[in-house]
Symmetry: C2
Amino acid sequence: MTEPHALIAVEMGIDTHQEPVVFLRADSEVCRAEGFNANTRIQISLGERAIIATLNVVTEAVIPPGQVGFSRIAWQRLGLTGGESVTLSHAPVLHSMSAVRKKIYGNQLSPKEISDIIQDISAHRYSDMQIASFVTACVDRLNSDEVIALTQAMVASGKRLSWPAKLQLVDKHCIGGVPGNRTTPIVVAIASAAGLVMPKTSSRAITSPSGTADTMEVLTNVRLSLAQIQATVREVNACLAWGGAVNLSPADDMLIRIEHVLDIDGVGQMVASVLSKKLAAGSTHALIDIPVGPTAKVRSQHQARQMASLFDTVGKALGLKVRCLITRGEEAIGYGIGPAQEAQDVLAVLNNAPEAPADLRERSLFLAAHLLNMAGQADLATTVGQAREILDSGQAWAQFQRICTAQGGLKAIPQAACRLELGAGHSGTLLAMDNRRLARLAKLAGAPISPAAGLRLHAKLGQALARGQPLFTLYADSQGELDYAADYYANNHDLFMIGEAP
Amino acid sequence: MTEPHALIAVEMGIDTHQEPVVFLRADSEVCRAEGFNANTRIQISLGERAIIATLNVVTEAVIPPGQVGFSRIAWQRLGLTGGESVTLSHAPVLHSMSAVRKKIYGNQLSPKEISDIIQDISAHRYSDMQIASFVTACVDRLNSDEVIALTQAMVASGKRLSWPAKLQLVDKHCIGGVPGNRTTPIVVAIASAAGLVMPKTSSRAITSPSGTADTMEVLTNVRLSLAQIQATVREVNACLAWGGAVNLSPADDMLIRIEHVLDIDGVGQMVASVLSKKLAAGSTHALIDIPVGPTAKVRSQHQARQMASLFDTVGKALGLKVRCLITRGEEAIGYGIGPAQEAQDVLAVLNNAPEAPADLRERSLFLAAHLLNMAGQADLATTVGQAREILDSGQAWAQFQRICTAQGGLKAIPQAACRLELGAGHSGTLLAMDNRRLARLAKLAGAPISPAAGLRLHAKLGQALARGQPLFTLYADSQGELDYAADYYANNHDLFMIGEAP
């Protein structure tokens, strides 16, 4: 091999998000000698450390001779502080992309091939385009063996929580697709008040306007380290943390980022994502909520049963006890959609407030009862009564406050800078709502990146509405985003179906 | 809507390849007011013109207040000259991505959905990640109705050549996968010398080390405008131009760029790509060469017949007479791989030089005879003799020179700066070569971006080799690239199979 080319590293002050970029002069010796072109993938090394980045070629005005510029993420990943001499070379051939191509053509991958792909993605060797291709190819073409292998590879890519042997650790997860379905904080409060141990780590939104981690971040600190999670659980039996902050299944977080951009969420990857997080967290039992509705993520009972069967198969193969509940998903749960709006509903239920949404309350009780039953506390008829008693008596609220205090304290819910109330176009009965477009509306308003953004429904299915009666309120942090969402609604009035008044 | 935000446009001197990027200060009023984040897709407008670009957020040191920076491609696409006041807003919702998601989940797309996707891609509204997802989803899941729709949408995305009515226009195409198979320049020279009209437009390499356009560019100017193509064909009955320079099927060129990065090439898209170019060029007849071999693009007779049937179906639906020839593809054709090396073989055949590769010559004659027969000149036995006579007598070479002269003159073939000859590891008979890894080797050496890069074989299948006897020579423009390719070969000696000598 030739000697690698050394250049001095400079920070460009450019944020290229998660894709590392380096900037090199077109007239630099290394560009000429190595034949680098714009968009080439190159390897930059500093001693033992190395990263792969995309090259942007720049004119001589941008960078002095003998230097190479770094985008923020490239700078961070290589651990630079400034002035270091780094070496550049062609990126090594990415062998695992052959396996991605194999999958694109519909062939089954071996556990080794899946593990190689996940290792390369974890090591940031894939470009965003390559991850997009992998994620797309997997959407509905992973069989159960591949999902088992993917789950194992994801667990292996990150850290694992360890707990005293023989301790039962229960967990719950909703596969999503129904806006506002924020039962987790309530279920964790009830179940842990009843004595179950729940080291709950949640993800951020993938294609929805909020994930449990986004909603909980409005109420307390969710960026707990592994040690903080263990300390919190020792102290109060449970936690409500963001999984991404503790490096549990980091490869999954990278896939989720790209799935988010493309707005896709495949079944096999979803099962692997959910179960890898449970396994990495050390769970022994997992309760999975699968809502079904015409505009939910799962549209038919048949599809729900298939998904439940995949969860069971993968859980069994990896030593995790899984129970799937197929629930109703015709309309948004509660009133709020978006992190802050959902947090408001969660607090109302926990406080037994008169304005608390009944559907969110009943759903949470149902799930908590199943968790208590799964963990062997009693038969389901008994645990149903037990869960209701814990919520009604205020024990769940007291337990929720203890969890938040242990994580750093309960925060005030942020208020949005801009709002817009929208009314029914005509009188009638609210017959249906389109969960997907409702979610899109909240996202266009800025959720979940702006926690206060989203919307609040003023009506539920079956409710009679007068013409002009408030239907929902939009919330956004800026007028631009509010207008963006309002424009979308102007072209999508039919996302609510209001039957003509008789 | 709020007033859009106006900022002064500045060129950043950064080449982001084909993906437009704009650079905005994190503390700019528009970032705060519109809620822009790194990697947001935004719309930038200048009067009636608008582009969609990806946002990179920068620190205040990089751009003065009140300005917005543009990457080279963003600057070009918006047609900026400097100092213009542009307005920024959120990118409109990309409705056609719903259709992409539908395809990702394996559903059939309507012609309208396919047309919407292709229109948005042509208008540069898709990010590279989104195109990567579309291309991946289509690889092996387009049925013939979808391929017909895709072909029509691609033709509609660009310009069309028009020719006098009743003129027969013949064309040929090889689906590729066999390195060095550069018959087109020879076939065009023979067939047009025989009086056929061939306005040949070719593509650049997709996943191979050279496309016909790359090889022809070594010999003459291939960037002809539509008017130049028509003038050349009027003058000398034929041309050998690059299709991408004339905006025939521009959407296809954008898909091909991403397929190249991902190293994939799906059948449906390939048929649409080939036939859309033929239709846009105004062809009435198309001859398709489908080489089959264990390491060619098409591996079995069955697969070749399926592909041929798709070509026939789509051709018939769109009024194009198609004939597919299934040919042998066990080994590279000729000796050269890479633009300049292949050009050398083409000239040797046209000149009836003693070192001309016999396989390239015979294959070209076979294809030319079929073209003459398709066009109704005579039965196949007669046209076989006719083609051979035209080549042997020097008429084909004279015609090829006329074509090059009409396109701007015959150029000298460039020489590579670096070369490395590699010998057989042991004595024996050359039994097999791996076309794919051979192609990868030439690409690692820099082909086709460096035209002089590639390799030259010194042996063909069945040949006896002594230990150390030259097997092939690598060519590269820089030592770095030569080393890169040589390193790959060091780990892939088995891409040539040499049987033990008795």
